[in-house]
């Protein structure tokens, strides 16, 4: 599994993430926010640490863009919805592309887990059960909610239902981002968010 992932072509995937025009500064905010949320979802579900992201960056030959924890933290802090701590607010296209490739790489690695969570979600809905009652889903929803509330600046705290809704939508998104074309899909979705 690792070997086959290592056979990937980061350069080719990088080239897939092209943009015809650069989004405006305001629209970039949406990209930064959505990208951060996707990463939080992946962290909450698979327990992915910064170290895992940095290792992924290295495997994908992206360590020139994201070399260390500090850089990674600053990129994450670029999400305008984050509680401000004086961190860097900019995220350029190269950095966004790198994060997209890293996220999708990690999603591919954890595709089984994401798939299992989606399956559980389908089953709980089919059985008219609340999703958070399922062990895996419950843990995911709690972790996502806690992380979101801890890191995001909100004028008013979001309700649990809204947070759960957000978490579950991101979970479904993640299964698509874990596919071979995932990086292109995420990139196009981010560009859609930027409009």
């Amino acid at each position: 599994m690792q070997h086959s992932i290592n056979q990937s072509s980061p350069a080719r995937e990088w080239k897939d993430l092209s943009i015809a025009q650069t989004p405006s500064i305001d629209n970039l905010s949406n990209i930064k926010t959505h990208l951060d949320l996707i990463i939080i979802a992946l962290e909450s579900l698979a327990g992915i640490s910064s170290e895992a992201m940095l290792q992924a960056a290295k495997k994908l030959n992206l360590d020139s863009v994201i070399a260390d924890r500090v850089t990674l933290w600053r990129l994450r802090q670029s999400n305008p919805q984050r509680k401000s701590s004086g961190g860097r607010k900019k995220l350029d296209v190269e950095e966004a592309r790198s994060l997209v490739l890293i996220v999708c790489y990690l999603a591919k690695q954890h595709q089984e887990l994401i798939r299992r969570a989606c399956l559980l979600l389908e089953q709980t809905i089919q059985q008219n059960q609340p999703p958070h009652r399922s062990g895996l889903l419950g843990d995911y929803l709690d972790a996502f909610s806690n992380t979101y509330q801890e890191r995001m600046e909100e004028a008013e705290p979001l309700s649990t239902d809204i947070l759960y809704q957000l978490a579950l939508k991101l979970l479904i998104d993640l299964i698509f981002y874990s596919s071979a074309q995932g990086h292109r899909r995420l990139w196009l979705a981010l560009l859609d968010y930027s409009k």
């Binding site: 990088w14 080239k15 591919k108």
Partner: protein, 471 residues
Amino acid sequence: MLSVIRRYTPPTCTLEIKVKNSPLSRWLRRPSLKQFRFELRFDDPRKAQDKPVTISGDRAQLEQLADMVNTYVQEFLALPANSLSLTGGSAKAISSSNFQEISAASTSTPSLKPRGLVAHELFFGSLATETSGQVIKLSALQLFDLTTALDECTADLATLPQGAPRSAPAALNTSGSLRDRFATLKTVPVWSAAIASLLLMAVGIIVLGVGIIKQRSLQTSPLASNQEQDSDSKERKTIDVLPPVAPQSSSTAKPSLKVPSSLSSQANLPPPPPVEPPQLSTRITDKSERKAISVAPNSPKKTSPSLSPLANSDPASTKTRSSSPSSSRIVTKLPSLPPLLPESSTSLQKREQAPVPTVSDSLASGNLNQSESNSTTALNNIPQLAEVQQYLKQRWNPPEDLSRTLQYRLIINPNGSIERIIPLGDASKIYLDRTGIPLKGEQFVSILEKKQQLKIRVLLAPEGIVQTFLE
């Protein structure tokens, strides 16, 4: 009888590609290009069903279905979280402008509609049968699996001209990557199959003649042998770059029937070359440049990478398949279609087959560094092909971030104007306005001799090479 040449098996559905296996195709050891059919079975093991819902259609319908699913998924991913309820029964309805809607059961175009966060309805449209019904409900995972199968299939088909891929059964195993399976894909346009059969007879005669010449030259002087080697080198170069039509029109085609022996030494084709991004190391750059060279006579081994075409346009797909074997039931058998290169190199060495597969490999890969004079010679038969090629060659300015060959199907009216431009593949759609292809209705080429539409396949390579072929 239709033979399955490709099978994609994510957990909850199976997509098969079939082509007709005629006696000629069996003799030529490659599938006929006629009667391309796909069959899609929704065989989710979680669902108790006597017979899985199955739909089928031709290539155009498959591409239409794939395009629709791809667009739908992208729209779904861009939806805000609060657009969809969990169950689909809440008041938060989806804006109908976001998704394809069907207004009546008679709509022929397949479409998808969300029914909440984890449920979708796939309306079969013209693909519906009595047994399949008009609609099927898909869960999120079923939609994902369908998307995965269609992605992989589309990636394979997008690199091929109008025709079916040939498979390498020896490379098809449960542990093989998708890339390896397509490592020996060849492509033969429909018309070249007939030409190839005539060529086989010519090849036998030529081989005999060349053999005699060689014997004589060896008897004469060493210099003559060297010259022969040089001409062999040139022939190898010619082989790898001439399009399939070449043998008919080019006098250099005959000697080009020889096959480099180095090709036979290749057991497996390496993965497609990476493309250099701005900040990646030169190591990758060099690697991609080396692999982009299709046939330097002094480095015959390099031909192999170029023969591994963009059939697998996204190498990530191979990772997915082999990285999550538990989520894929794995794949394809295709044994009735023996591989051509490198496994079939022995037959090529016997010079019993035309070099068409080799040529079309280079063609499909788009990694040609051959001078265009050879290809132009081959196109002289149909003046419009050369006109299109020349027209686009002057205007084609590959974007820096382009890594794959763009393919378009142009339908030319008898009066020489463009009737329709069909981009094949996502990249082609994205870069259409950068290609220099004129607008629909604009006078493009000279008036056609025959009063019927002409279908031309255009390949625009990132290296700047433009190729045109009849479809």
